[in-house]
Amino acid sequence: MDRREFLKNCSLALAGFSLFGCTKTETKKIPSDEDFEREVQMALSLKRENIPLVKIEMPSGKLNQKVRLGMAIDLTRCDTCGACILACNKENNIPLVPKEDAELGHFMHWIQLTKEFPLMCFHCEDAPCEKVCPTLAASHSLDGVSVMMYKRCAGSRFCGANCPVHARKFNAYDNQKENLSRVFNANVPLREKGVMEKCSFCLQRIQENRIAFKTENPTREWIAENFKTACANACPKHAIYCGNWLDENSELVKEAKRHVLYAPESIAAFNPSIVYMRELR
């Protein structure tokens, strides 16, 4: 190889390497409100089949337990409009999913809709998902909420396989990098790739409620009065009663006493905190 050829090859190689710089510069695009609304509309068009319901007793507490948070959903009022899903998505910074997943109906939404009622984590007292979590990332809070510690989650997805109603969702994508997530609520962290998530019963709102109550009444015991989750707040038909099952004066208990209570057949044995109400007792 003479000098001329050597220089020629060198410059060619240099030119070749410079091509590596020609990548598309990505601009960070944060999804707009419409994107989230569109996805909820899509979820509404892909409702799940109904699952059979069975009658259950009113949820009760353990010895010395003062708070067991829960919900009763009035199915005579619910028309599955999907307002709760949007409110939940914004409250909990739930990411969008790529198009391919959305077409299959695999959304990250914590609330899913069947043709007759909304379906989310039932916060079972005897939760099957918590039992199989190898790291105890899924565990139960003292307020009777099935909580998820994202940082302790190793992403084995065993809990996802062990939920009879498939309420758990898996973060398969790096949502921030792929512009799928957006921070609506600074109090809720964005979940990282590889962890499971599900309805947290608006944990941040529980905490807010407790702090607000304790600042005003430092001596009284907190029993979650006036606590409302984002979905209960957003429901235009006021079909969701939210509160403390162990507070006899709460609207939740009063309403639940008047109605016959139902839960999905596959969940009823695990003592769920979230129940459906249909006809009057």
Binding site: C133, P134, T135, S139, S156, A161, F170, P189, K193, G194
Partner: protein, 525 residues
């Protein structure tokens, strides 16, 4: 060494799969499980044949050629290594794998011994360790016949372990609510499937050694027959049936019964491969029900596992399996006498483990019973007993250079345990302030402008003209002052008012107040 290059495409697929995470391969719709679990179950099944065969045969005193036994044990170790990679690939957050070890970390957290995954993790780790130990003892006994005495006690320990390991793997499936995965027959179903595929592979490998063992072929066919019956059971119970598994793993092997064909090595090789393919399809249809299309990465991972097995097999066989004496002497020894003290030691270790688990798990309000520890009983007792035998009896026969190697391994093992104890960072990477955008209908900036800016100014500096005219100067917004007051008391100030500031109780929602406080903090200097 050139054959190591065969690994390259597989490694590329593996690295891609690890970097991209579970989204890169096909996931079951509701279970989120995929090919890595299929490959794990497949290879862990294969790993059963080797140790099972040489340990149980040895324990029961069935004569087996030493070379066949050594090859089978080697294939066990290699398929275990291959299998062990895939649960890690499967995890969403790979660096958190250490949280599965029932071992106290420095946050005083213990893993959940109620979970089959924890049983699985321990059983496989211990099984791998014992397989290596057994192979090492076997290998050393070729040079030093005095060690042979301790091989049978080890074999008796491995006997229950082998069966319990695959039972535990089957429990990963059987305890869930996926209808296709439920069934009380799952443990025997998995064990039989494992023996079937494992013997098929060992028989396949023996073809290349120009060897053949009729007993192994018979055992393979017998377990195949049982497996077909269980498939029928499964079909009648749930109605799901894997046609491709049936064709490959039970129709093609029927060729074996044609006398002329079975003496031909090519036909036998075809039968063995067909069994392996069939059993792979069986696991695939089990883990990802109702899913046909595999992605490119799935094929990459499958290729990786196969190439890894054969490359390691060829490499290690050259190293270890040479000059093996032809005849195997059936050694009578005092197996059970040697086992007494190690077993007591193992039981002691298990009791200590249960006490430790109880102590730490009950502190977290986890409802735990002794019952939940029982699946770990066999692996832990066997592990402690085998280590005891190895350290007390076998270690002294080792040459100096091996001893040094073992010492290094111990140091590394303790360093590893230390790393597990320390754990990795558990800090959240919070979203940067710039990324936190309020939604369109909740413009916190507008709320500040409408409600607060009249006095406090749009940027947090005072609207001095207005203030001087009507009120005394309000407090300056400094970070130190805001922090000394704390969010909750500021919240109360906004709610109830203070001195000249009026109450905003009915004009702002609690959430808006919190948001305003965050916004104000952003303005403070």
């Amino acid at each position: 060494m050139i054959y190591f290059s065969l690994l390259i495409p597989g490694i590329i697929a593996l690295v891609y799969a690890i970097l991209q995470g579970p989204a890169s391969w096909t996931l079951g719709a509701h279970t989120f499980w995929g090919t890595p679990i299929v490959l794990f179950v497949f290879w862990i099944g294969i790993s059963h044949a080797g140790t099972l065969l040489s340990a149980i045969f040895l324990a029961l005193g069935i004569k087996l050629e030493k070379k066949i036994a050594l090859l089978a044990e080697l294939s066990t170790i290699i398929s275990l290594i291959t299998a062990a990679i895939f649960p890690l690939v499967h995890l969403g957050v790979i660096e958190n794998f250490y949280m599965l070890v029932p071992f106290l970390d420095n946050r005083e957290l213990f893993s959940n011994v109620r979970s089959p995954l924890v049983w699985d993790f321990c059983a496989i780790l211990i099984y791998g360790f014992l397989s290596i130990m057994f192979f090492a003892t076997h290998f050393l006994s070729l040079k030093n016949p005095a060690i042979e005495k301790f091989q049978r006690p080890l074999a008796w320990l491995i006997f229950p372990l082998v069966i319990s390991v695959h039972t535990i793997v089957s429990l990963d499936f059987a305890v869930t609510f996926i209808p296709e995965w439920r069934g009380a027959f799952f443990p025997i179903y998995f064990v039989v499937g494992a023996i079937y595929s494992g013997f098929a592979l060992v028989n396949f490998l023996l073809i290349f050694e120009k060897k053949r063992n009729i007993l192994l072929e018979k055992l393979m066919l017998a377990s195949g027959g049982v497996l077909v019956l269980i498939w029928l059971w499964n079909f009648l119970l749930k109605g799901d049936f894997s046609l491709r598994a049936f064709i490959f793993a039970s129709l093609f092997p029927l060729l074996y019964f044609v006398k002329k064909l079975r003496h031909h090595p090519f036909v036998r090789a075809f039968i063995y491969i067909s069994i392996l393919v069939g059993l792979f399809f069986e696991r695939l249809d089990l883990v990802i029900p109702k899913l046909e299309n595999l992605k490119f990465i799935d094929w990459g991972l499958i290729y990786f596992s196969i190439s890894l097995f054969f490359v390691l097999y060829l490499f290690l066989k050259k190293k270890f399996v040479k000059n093996v004496p032809e005849n195997a002497e059936n050694f009578r020894s005092m197996d059970f006498k040697i086992l007494q003290i190690p077993l007591l030691f193992g039981i002691l270790i298990f009791v200590l483990f249960v006490i430790m688990g109880f102590h730490f798990l009950t502190r977290f309000d986890v409802q735990i019973e002794v019952l939940h520890f029982m699946p770990l009983a066999i692996p832990i007792i066997v592990f402690a007993a085998a280590s005891f035998i190895f350290v007390k009896y076998i270690l002294r026969f080792l040459q100096e250079k091996y001893k040094r190697g073992i010492a290094i391994c111990f140091v590394l093992a303790f360093a590893f345990l230390g790393a597990l104890h320390a754990g990795f960072s558990n800090e959240f990477t919070p979203a940067k302030q710039a990324e936190i955008l309020p939604s369109e209908e909740f413009q916190i900036h507008d709320i500040w402008k409408n409600t607060c800016a009249a006095c406090h100014g749009e940027t947090g500096d005072f609207n001095e003209k207005f203030i001087r005219e009507y009120y005394p100067l309000p407090q300056k917004l400094t970070l130190s002052r805001l922090d000394s007051l704390g969010e909750d008391s500021l919240y109360q100030v906004v709610l109830k008012g203070r001195v000249n500031m009026s109450a905003y109780e009915n004009r702002l929602t609690p959430n808006e107040i919190r948001a305003l406080l965050h916004y104000m903090r952003g303005l403070a200097k």
